[in-house]
Symmetry: C2
Subunit: 129 residues, 2 copies
């Protein structure tokens, strides 16, 4: 396991996007931009059940992440990691509201689909560079 | 094959970074930010021989690309594609100078390593979304 240094934690806590790459069933790469958070040790990604990356990491938990400072695209960090936990239920639903507040200023997340169930992917960093 | 629409072409021709995901030998995802160009039909990525993504696409040509407008991170396009050609020699060396001019204003690219050989990856888009 790798430790998140202060610069990386700051990037993850800031209003920055990450790009997450996972592996599709056919072995091809899948890449999506998403909001991000950290508990100080892990990268936290809030997604929804059924989304491609959530389906993918259930099969193969290995991910590659790039986080970029939206104010300076040359400031960025790459993280190789592994999804070690998938949290659903109230904790995941509350967390997406926290993300909504951070990124949009809205304290309540506006769901894309009725009945959408959120899932919080806990990514343990294996390498940070 | 998918066609690059005008918005995507503009993003690729602009001073924007892309994120490119390839597949490592062990099947895990690899993700790197890079400069980009287009010939109007394909995504052009100038890299160097020996770099991880160049080694990876020689084994498995499938890539996933995300391009983001650096002035508006919400404007972005995802491209699934396949490396169909790898150009080395003068054309690739001249092209990195073009990229240097576009991104840094310097007409001559400053090599990271002595003896570095550039390679231009021609990525045919299969899906744009």
């Amino acid at each position: 396991m790798a430790k998140l240094d202060e610069k990386t934690k700051k990037l993850l806590l800031g209003k920055n996007f990450i790009f997450v790459s996972t592996i599709n069933k056919d072995g091809s790469p899948q890449l999506t931009p998403t909001w991000v958070d950290t508990d100080g040790e892990n990268v936290l990604i809030n997604s929804a059940l059924g989304r491609q990356k959530v389906v993918n990491v259930a099969r193969d938990p290995r991910v590659a992440i790039a986080v970029v400072n939206h104010e300076n695209p040359y400031e960025r960090v790459s993280i190789k990691g592994k999804v070690v936990e998938e949290i659903t239920g109230k904790a995941a639903e509350d967390h997406i509201d926290k993300m909504s507040l951070k990124y949009t200023g809205e304290p309540k997340y506006r769901r894309n689909a009725p009945g959408e169930k959120r899932v919080l992917l806990v990514v343990k960093p294996l390498k940070v560079y």
